[in-house]
């Protein structure tokens, strides 16, 4: 058994949040056509499952890719504390972006990308319901990283 190859460590979290799918650039009718029930004016909510996958070599002393408690702490601080029992539309990340689960998974990837305690963030999977899920494996996330910095300085005001 060789010891230095890459292993992926996965951890699942749950958060409950509300949202409304509505694009400002579209007319009311176009929004209803595009988003259907999800366009309901007063919003609706989901129990989202967020699966974070970190890849890297297994530490020979600990047998671990990443310390679970340290990963939990980062995810709690950056994702769960921010979105659990919140309205996604009111978060600065979604001020100019519809909080679809595609965008939500990409936002979570950006929030965690430079913060995993060890290894590399490989994938963020978000399950909106038990019948649909989305996986972000990186890519166009830089604009979300900038928004994360903005949120930190804004958070004291509310």
């Amino acid at each position: 058994m060789k010891g230095a190859s890459k292993v992926y460590f996965g951890r699942r979290y749950m958060l409950s949040a509300s949202h409304r799918l509505h694009a400002e650039a579209l007319t009311a009718e176009q929004n209803r056509v595009a988003y259907g029930k999800c366009n309901n004016e007063n919003g609706h909510g989901h129990d989202y499952f967020v699966e974070v996958m970190v890849g890297g070599p297994v530490n020979a002393e600990t047998g671990m890719v990443v310390d679970l408690a340290a990963l939990d702490s980062v995810v709690r601080e950056r994702v769960l504390d921010r979105f659990d029992h919140a309205n996604l539309n009111l978060d600065p990340l979604f001020s100019d972006r519809v909080p679809t689960t595609e965008n939500f998974s990409r936002a979570i990837f950006a929030l965690l990308n430079d913060a995993v305690p060890n290894g590399k963030l490989e994938q963020v999977r978000v399950e909106e319901t038990e019948n649909n899920f989305f996986e972000c494996v990186g890519g166009r996330i830089n604009d979300y990283g900038a928004s994360y910095s903005g949120h930190k300085s804004d958070s004291s005001s509310g």
Binding site: M1, S5, V7, Y8, R12, Y13, M53, E61, G63
Partner: protein, 139 residues
């Protein structure tokens, strides 16, 4: 290319301990998992093989055959065992989920390769429904 996954469960006990560390450091790094009397989990093992369906059978591999290989190579050694005490590869290696995924690959890969059908693609081991490790071979 088709990826086919077979799932199985096993129950085992373990503890996390590095013999080259002090007791204090083991407790600091591994927390409750360092309790020397052990604790246990209901593990789920997912084995994914990749290949083309056989034109005659439509199978990538025979699922019954894969089930038997998993039972013979992994479950017979791990199910209802103490991983640290009963399983040779964990005598001197901490039985974390990561190391179990690598070890399960080592146990399964020769039999699957010898069958000259599908290739072993991925091993995923769930320690709980919220924690898993995945190994895709040497990368």
């Amino acid at each position: 290319m088709i990826f086919l996954t077979r799932r199985a469960t096993f129950s085992a006990s373990h503890y996390y301990w590095n013999d080259s560390w002090s007791a204090e450091k083991n407790r600091e790094v591994f927390g409750r998992c360092a309790n020397r009397n052990g604790h246990g989990h209901n593990y789920t093992l997912e084995v994914t093989v990749a290949g083309e369906p056989d034109p005659a059978t439509g199978f990538v591999v025979d699922l019954k055959w894969l089930k038997d290989v998993m039972e013979r190579e992994v479950l017979a050694a791990y199910d209802h065992k103490h991983l640290n005490l009963d399983v040779p590869e964990f005598k001197h290696r901490v039985p974390t989920t990561e190391n179990i995924a690598i070890a399960a690959w080592s146990r399964l890969e020769p039999a699957i390769t010898a069958a000259k059908g599908a290739k072993l693609s991925r091993i995923r081991v769930y320690e709980t429904p919220e924690i898993f490790a995945e190994y895709r071979g040497w990368q």
